[in-house]
C-alpha cells in the first residue's frame, strides 16, 4: 500500500514537472528547476525498483552536476524566455503536438498488455556490491570505453569553451 502511494505520487510529480520543463515559456530558469524535480522523483522510482545505487547516482550526477551546469549556463548568458510565441511554422508545431498526443493515447494500452509476474529479488539486488561485481567482470570493456568517452568529452568541452582557438 505504501509502495503504491509512493509510486503514484512520484510518477505524478515526475510527469507534471516534465511538462513544466516544456511549458515554462517565460523563464528558462524555472524550466531547469522543474528538471531537478523530475530527476529527484525519478530517483525515488529507481529506489522503489530496488536500484539503490542507480538512484543515488541519479541524484548525484543528474540533479547535482548536470542541472547545476544548466543553471550555470542560463545565469551566465542571462537568457530570457519567450521563444514559443508568434513565430514560424505554427502548423508543423500543431501537427507535431497532435502526433505526440495521439501516440501517447495509443501507447498506454499497448504497454499495459505486457503483464508479467514480478519476481522476488534478494537483498543484494541493486547494491553497489552487486552492480560493481557485474560492471567489473562482464562489462569491463564498456566501462573502460566510458572512461575514454568522458576524457574525450572533457577535451571537447575545453576546446569549445576557449575564447580563441589558435
Amino acid at each position: 500500500m505504501t509502495e503504491q502511494v509512493i509510486f503514484y505520487v512520484s510518477a505524478f510529480v515526475a510527469l507534471i514537472s516534465a511538462a513544466g520543463v516544456v511549458l515554462n515559456v517565460r523563464n528558462t530558469l524555472y524550466a531547469a528547476l522543474c528538471l531537478v524535480i523530475t530527476m529527484l522523483s525519478l530517483a525515488v522510482l529507481f529506489i522503489l525498483l530496488n536500484a539503490e545505487f542507480i538512484g543515488v547516482l541519479q541524484v548525484m550526477v543528474y540533479a547535482g552536476a548536470i542541472v547545476v551546469l544548466f543553471l550555470f549556463v542560463i545565469m551566465l548568458l542571462n537568457i530570457r524566455g519567450g521563444d514559443m510565441g508568434a513565430d514560424r511554422q505554427p502548423v508543423l508545431k500543431v501537427i507535431g503536438t497532435l502526433l505526440i498526443v495521439g501516440a501517447s493515447v495509443k501507447l498506454v494500452p499497448l504497454l499495459s498488455e505486457s503483464r508479467r509476474a514480478w519476481p522476488e529479488v534478494g537483498p543484494e539486488f541493486g547494491t553497489v556490491r552487486a552492480i560493481g561485481g557485474t560492471l567489473y567482470t562482464d562489462y569491463l570493456l564498456a566501462f573502460e570505453i566510458a572512461g575514454v568517452l568522458l576524457l574525450a568529452g572533457i577535451v571537447g568541452a575545453v576546446v569549445m569553451g576557449k575564447q580563441r582557438i589558435d
Binding site: 509502495e3 503504491q4 509510486f7 510518477a11 510527469l15 516534465a18 520543463v21 516544456v22 528558462t28 524550466a31 528538471l35 523530475t38 525519478l42 522510482l45 529507481f46 522503489l48 525498483l49 530496488n50 536500484a51 542507480i54 547516482l57 541519479q58 550526477v61 543528474y62 548536470i66 551546469l69 544548466f70 549556463v73 537568457i79 524566455g81 521563444d83 514559443m84 513565430d87 514560424r88 508545431k93 507535431g96 505526440i100 501516440a103 501517447s104 501507447l107 498506454v108 504497454l111 499495459s112 505486457s114 503483464r115 508479467r116 514480478w118 539486488f125 541493486g126 552492480i131 557485474t134 560492471l135 562482464d138 564498456a142 568517452l149 574525450a152 568529452g153 571537447g156 568541452a157 569549445m160
Partner: protein, 100 residues
C-alpha cells in the same frame, strides 16, 4: 502491488513529453533539457525491465546512459556558449546556416 507495465507507461509518457519539447520549443537550452528527459525515460524503462527479470544488466546500461548524458551536456553547453558569444541568440531558427 505495482506491476511492470505501470512503470513502462510512466517511461513512455515521459519520453513523449521530451519529444514534444524538442518539437515545439525553439530555445536550444530547453531542447537539450528535453533530450535529458528522453534519456531519463529510457533509464526508467531499463531499470523497470531490470527489476522485472531480476538481472543487473539493465542497471549497467543505465550507468552507461548517465555517462553519455553527462558528456553530452558538457559538450552541448560549451557549443551553446560559443553560439551565444558568436551570434548572440539561443533561438535555433536564427542558426539555420546548415539547414537545407
Amino acid at each position: 502491488m505495482i506491476e511492470a507495465w505501470e512503470y513502462q507507461v510512466v517511461a513512455g509518457l515521459l519520453f513523449m513529453i521530451g519529444t514534444l519539447g524538442v518539437l515545439v520549443r525553439r530555445n536550444v537550452i530547453v531542447i537539450v533539457m528535453c533530450i535529458e528527459l528522453m534519456l531519463n525515460a529510457a533509464n526508467l524503462s531499463l531499470i523497470a525491465f531490470s527489476r522485472q527479470w531480476g538481472n543487473h544488466d539493465g542497471q549497467i546500461f543505465v550507468f552507461m546512459v548517465i555517462v553519455v548524458a553527462a558528456v553530452e551536456v558538457a559538450v552541448g553547453l560549451a557549443i551553446i556558449l560559443r553560439l551565444v558569444s558568436n551570434r548572440d541568440t539561443v533561438n535555433i531558427e536564427d542558426t539555420s546556416l546548415l539547414k537545407w
